[in-house]
């Protein structure tokens, strides 16, 4: 499950080509062949630039996910008013009755 922790040297990354079609699939954006070409080139260039951080030794450095140091920001378990359904469904690209409607879901989508 934890494929994210795969250890990988950043030095090896610069030689990697982004599999732009795979990434676009994950991001759910259809790309034209032309875009695959162009974005592939541009993202490759950008990666060359960002790879400069591989020079820094960060082994003992903690990661900063957020600059705020707050902890335990929690709300009381209280019910608050909802939006009314008319407003909610008026935004829908397609509604049917009291529901949002979408085209068929292929099981693989889950």
């Amino acid at each position: 499950m934890n494929s994210q922790s795969t250890k990988r040297s950043i030095l090896s990354l610069s030689s990697d080509k982004i599999d732009i079609r795979y990434v676009a699939k994950l991001a759910r954006i259809a790309l034209t062949d032309d875009e695959v070409q162009r974005f592939g080139q541009q993202l490759g260039d950008l990666l060359e630039h960002v790879n400069v951080i591989s020079k820094l030794d960060t082994d003992s450095i903690p990661a900063t996910a957020q600059v705020v140091e707050s902890r335990n920001v929690e709300r009381e378990d209280e019910v608050r008013p909802c939006l009314d359904r008319k407003t909610v469904l008026s935004m829908a690209p397609q509604a049917q009755g009291s529901f949002f409607r979408v085209p068929r879901i292929i099981a693989e989508d889950g």
């Binding site: 934890n2 494929s3 994210q4 994950l26 759910r28 996910a65 957020q66 705020v68 707050s70 902890r71 335990n72 920001v73 929690e74 709300r75 009381e76 378990d77 209280e78 019910v79 608050r80 008013p81 909802c82 939006l83 009314d84 359904r85 909610v88 469904l89 049917q96 009755g97 009291s98 529901f99 949002f100 409607r101 979408v102 085209p103 068929r104 879901i105 099981a107 693989e108 989508d109 889950g110």
Partner: protein, 510 residues
Amino acid sequence: MSNIESAHAVGGPQPSAGGRGAEGAAPSKWEAVIGIECHVELKTNSKMFCGCANEFGGEPNTKVCPVCLALPGALPVANRVAIEHMIAAGLAFDAQIPEFSKFDRKNYFYPDMPKDYQISQFDMPLTQGGVVRYWLEDGTMKECRLTRIHLEEDTGKSTHSGSGDGRIAGSSHSLIDFNRAGVPLMECVSEPEIHNADEAVGYLEALKRTFVQLGVSDVKMEEGSLRCDANVSIRPVGAKELGTKAEIKNMNSFRSVHRAIESEIARQIEIVESGGRVVQETRGWDEVTGTTHTMRSKEQAHDYRYFPDPDLVPVEVDRATVERIRKDMPELPPARFARYHCEFKLSVAQATQLVENAPLAEYFDACVNASKNAQQSVNFVLGDLSRLANESDTPVYESPVKPQHVAELITLVESNTINSKIAKELVGRMWKGEGAPKSIVEKEGLAQTSDPGAIDGFIDGVLAANEKSVADYKGGKTNVMGFLVGQVMKASRGKANPALVQERMKEKLT
């Protein structure tokens, strides 16, 4: 004292290794290995990250706000009670509650998931480890370790149309209701330490009982507040490595979990025994055909791109909170079951019935405390009192019959002050609010009489009025004795000591 400790202290039957081998499911050559993942909706007033009501059902798309509908610009704020429920759930199973925990985003697209990522927990869940102790119908205690319980949010609900049967396969479109989106959900992941369908159901029942008793969830499978998937594989008995697993989905009752696991084990055994190989896949359970079928065959490794949710700050669980929650915890099902079954010698059915009804169990405990007689207490509580409760729709513990009354009644029976018939009558009168049994007995002279003179008087009268029966008895039809004793009891308005009546009657007839 912690309830977990008391469970050990009672010294109930030790969990036995291995399965009991449900009939037909796991013949001796093969051992099934099962891990269960459960999603359980937490019982809170409001959703996990917004103030919309956490209620089942209701008009579609009426319990939504900018946050749970993922409108642009909306942000989540965590529900304090949901986090405390998680800590309670973890403590109930002896899990570790790490001091530092955080929320992560699990990224994937699905139309009923508003943000197209789920706020979940990846590497730092609120609880880690733990063990679920449960028992089987024969009273055998079992254990299954938990990997973790983490907190996340539920999705909305899709209804699939156009396929004729509501299934996703073959549907032309889907309709979505987001009322459920954002409801707090705990995901309980077990280690693969379950070996047959009975154990799976026992494990699930233990989760359910515990969550209900803690008040952290209603666990209504029919309302979808408990949903589970099972990872099933088989291996030759004695083998170390795990076989290829299939993940079974769509089981919507404990009964279907049982049936689905048995069917899946049988399917895998058949494949392997006929020289085939089990393929890793997701299989759906079909209630009607009683079989599992392929849902997703080419299992792609999901790339969920987990990362810490920058909209939420970490949770640091302070030890004082943990201790407060621990202190407030009731006696939990495994400990209570062990006490009832092993110490009080109640039957598995009696003990289970009480364990599943915590207030009734507490009432029962008060009766035992006052009477020091568990057997008689359980007879009254699960017998006459529960019958009256059913008839009147009033729980025993809310009736006018107090545990001290029950104890008094037991004393009256034990001291032979009243007989069981009077006891039954007294229960009914106490239920109507007539007060303590002793005072009723005294007021109305219902005490049993064991005075030989008085009893002889009743017997003589009965024998005189039933000459034919006396003759029958003397002619060898000894079964008329019951009738004659009954007549004496009737004449004494139930007060005569039945044992004494029997004894004197025998003497007079021979």
